[in-house]
Amino acid sequence: MTNQDDILARLICLFEDYTIRRCWPQETEQSLTLSIVPTLVFDMSGEKAQAIRVSPGSDGRILVELSKFEKVYLAASMPNGTWDEVDYSMYLKGRHWLLCAVTEIPELRESGYECIESIWNSPPDQFPDLLWGLIRWQLRRDGFQQLWFVVSSSDEAQMVRSALVALTQNKPNATGKLQLAQVVQSTDSLRGFPFLDDPHRPPEEGEQMLLLYAQEGYADLFQWSQGRFACRRLTAKQTIDLTLVSRLAICSDTLDRPPEGVLLFHSVQDLESQAIAHYVMWQPVLHQWEAERKRRCVQQLQRRIAQLEDENRDIEAAVRRSRHVLKRLSANPPLSTGGDVCLHSGSTSAPPPP
């Protein structure tokens, strides 16, 4: 174990002793439930594309696996093997676009193949075929029911949405088994989402979570607020109050057995694929939850307004009655019963002196 790991281990112990809450409130504002069906997620928000398989894991958790791009998928002139991520470069072989590395393009062009260096820069009418070239193998092989795309901009989201419409029209046999195809835009706080990998511990409003990057030497502090993660990167000079932090995750290649309750990711890539998968799974639930929370807020406000309106009506009725009494009294002043009685009727004139 390296020194860095020693320090990390001590930090974890310290953290564990003081701050990890082992028991969460049994009753939360609202329970969150995930309904996971085998899902394929294409993460196209980075410089390279990744395919991630998501399926129900044991104990209600999310099972996340990288779906490798196999050698059959790629330009045959590339060395054999499998890839966790691929360039957005493709070449036209026969009737199909196939993946290739950017570095292969000069040779492929020399051999007479049509090539696209990045599918994002392709003409709109070509994009559906290119997208199909990217996803077809994995989609066919594993028979997924749900397909998600995570992109980084609204333009990309629009391109993918249009392509999906075109594909369902042009390739109904291939895409017919899909129950759902969705496009989402990634957010800055994506890395906070793996913290939600515990169905028994939904986040609490204001809760803070810390993600340590052991090799890289920095940390991210997340705060859960109104259905979102706010993220702040911490550097060496910044201090935080660990007692306010209730969940800890560590990204380390050399740490093997995390203390109970601490999430461990073996690499940044591992973390990111987990983050994407959890984002895709949780985002609709949280969206729904947040919408429900807002709906309840509106309902409460509406009830309050109704209550206030009722109260207002009572006040107005009282005022009306008072005015009526005043009017009657002004017209027929009562007889003196021993003392003077002065009544004001809203007149701006000053009251008579005592």
Partner: protein
């Protein structure tokens, strides 16, 4: 601490690590990407091609560079598929090494890359074909030791360094179960409660290995975990030297070479040197592998077939390339000898029939069929297996079938190092059996020096005697003989020449004796009333292919 496993394959070598998953009970595995020595760039693959090149001077190069460039630079100094030569104590003259020493180079390279990343290593498991013989297993262990020694790593010194062997089909199944257990109960593919029998069909680059495993809980009320799982290996196939290389060779010989001659007829008149012939052969095999991969991909989406263009082949200083127009029907015709069930060593289906027949286990008793290994992806093979099995409902599907064996080896290392007492009931070569008909007639246990003499009567007139020798950890119990097919010492049986023609009814006496210096037995055969044995078969001395041919 992660545990490591290596799939030392005929065509590729993979290394995987296993460590605790998110829960203490779960195990996560990962096949490590490997740099390819000899290339300046940072290209990484999930494997190291099991190919070595030995330059005239300097260190040998293993991996992709050797595979792609070796045939051009020096075809006679390029070695591939040494796994098929393990256990024979051959000496490869042209490179001055034994197969075990070549295997050690692959092991050393993958281990070095992992150790360079800062991992410590206590336990290492290397996989072997289930049907590997004692000699072959011994050779593999020697290769591991040589690799450890060559690394000169303090971490790998001493008596305590763990090195384990596990059968490839069992490793693949272990990986599958570890993966399946990560899933929610309703999403799991294997139902252990029903004590299923699983046929593992492991087809790699050079070997087709079949194993029937039965799964059960050690404690039916215990936890749903690997610790509580009992693996019983019920049957192991004979050694089938059949795999991806055979598909490549057939494509190279039956398709590419004739097309090359059609495209460049002058080649027929050119006298090639031995080196040039070898280089051309390697080139055509590499192209055949590419063709096979492309065909697989195209047939997945198109029924029409493929127009394949080879890379330029350099022959006598001239470059030749050509195209192959191959329809699906033509491809199936070409592969038919492998994929239509027929008796023979080079067939994808016959070994299943043979194993079921010999083990006495019915097809209906097999609950799951688990295709695994790099060649399990091949579409025509998948279709042939589904046809043969009558549907794919019982097929277990692993996401990356060519990584299953390495992952399983790592899981085995992990379980051995973290769970005291974890074991898999797998026969190993510590006892020997002779089978003449349907029984294990002679038994030589590890604590015995010699077996009892058995006397038989020849049922036919002939000049040969069929004999098989098996090895296993524990002697078969009475009544279980037929269900246990242990590691074959001599693959597929041996026809022993009797040195003359003997009539039906002639008595034959056989005895097995342990050699003083090795574990491997010597078998003596007497015919009639002769005082001297007519043949003495020393299995440790069956070293060269010439000697092997004598008994073939």
């Amino acid at each position: 601490m992660p545990a490591f496993g290596i799939d030392l394959g005929t065509t590729t070598t993979l290394i995987a690590l296993a460590r605790q998953g998110k829960d203490p009970e779960s195990i996560e595995t990962d096949v490590r990407n490997l740099k390819q020595p000899g290339y300046e760039d940072e290209r990484e693959l999930n494997h190291l091609p099991s190919v070595a090149f030995f330059p005239d001077a300097g260190e040998p190069v293993v991996g992709l560079w050797a595979k792609e460039n070796g045939p051009y630079v020096g075809p006679t100094r390029c070695v591939r598929a040494v796994k098929r030569l393990m256990g024979r104590d051959l000496f490869l003259d042209q490179i001055g090494r034994t197969p075990s020493e070549v295997s050690a180079l692959y092991l050393k390279e993958v281990l070095r890359q992992v150790l360079d990343k800062g991992y410590a290593m206590d336990e290492l498991t290397v996989t072997v074909p289930a049907s590997y013989t004692t000699n072959q297993r011994g050779d593999t262990l020697r290769a591991i030791d040589k690799a450890f020694d060559a690394l000169e790593e303090q971490r790998l010194r001493g008596e305590q360094r763990g090195r384990l062997l596990i059968s490839e089909p069992v490793a693949a199944l272990l990986a599958f179960i570890a993966w399946d257990m990560l899933k929610a109960r309703h999403a799991r593919q294997i139902d252990v409660d029903r004590q299923p029998k699983i046929l593992v069909y492991d087809i790699g680059g050079g070997t087709l290995d079949l194993t029937i495993v039965e799964l059960a809980w050690r404690d039916p009320h215990g936890s749903y975990s690997l610790d509580n799982l009992q693996f019983s290996v019920l049957a192991i196939s004979r050694h089938n030297q059949f795999g991806g290389e055979d598909f490549d060779l057939r494509l190279a010989h039956e398709l590419l070479y004739p097309r090359l001659l059609e495209a460049s007829p002058d080649l027929e008149r050119i006298e090639l040197t031995r080196e040039e012939r070898l280089a051309l052969r390697y080139d055509l095999i590499n192209e055949a592998e590419r063709l096979k991969i492309e065909l697989n991909m195209e047939l997945e989406f198109d029924e029409e077939g493929i127009l394949f263009r080879t890379r330029p082949l350099s022959i006598c200083g001239q470059e030749h390339d050509f195209t192959v127009d191959l329809s699906r029907h033509q491809y199936e015709e070409l592969m038919a000898p492998f994929l239509k069930e027929r008796e023979g060593a080079k067939n994808a289906l016959w070994p299943i029939t043979e194993l079921l027949k010999e083990s006495g286990i019915g097809r209906e008793d097999i609950r799951y069929f688990f295709p695994v290994g790099g060649m399990a992806r091949l579409l025509p093979l998948q279709e042939a297996l589904v046809r043969y099995w009558g549907g794919k409902e019982s097929f277990l599907k692993f996401p990356v079938p060519d990584e299953a064996i390495a992952q399983g080896a790592a899981v085995y290392s992990y379980l051995k190092s973290t769970r005291q007492g974890f074991k898999i009931e797998e026969p190993a070569a510590d006892a020997y059996y002779v089978r003449l008909t349907k029984e294990f007639d002679l038994l030589l246990r590890r604590d015995q020096q010699s077996s009892e003499r058995q006397r038989y009567i020849l049922e036919n007139t002939g000049n040969k005697l069929l004999l098989q020798i098996f090895a296993g950890a524990d002697p078969p119990a009475d009544g279980e003989l037929e269900s246990i097919y242990h590691t074959l010492i001599y693959q597929g049986g041996t026809a022993i020449p009797l040195g003359g023609v003997y009539n039906k009814g002639t008595p034959v006496t056989i005895e097995m004796e342990r050699r003083y210096d090795t574990k491997v037995p010597v078998v003596r055969i007497w015919i009639g009333n002769s005082t001297e044995p007519v043949d003495v078969i020393d299995f440790d001395e069956l070293k060269s292919e010439q000697e092997e041919a004598r008994y073939a």
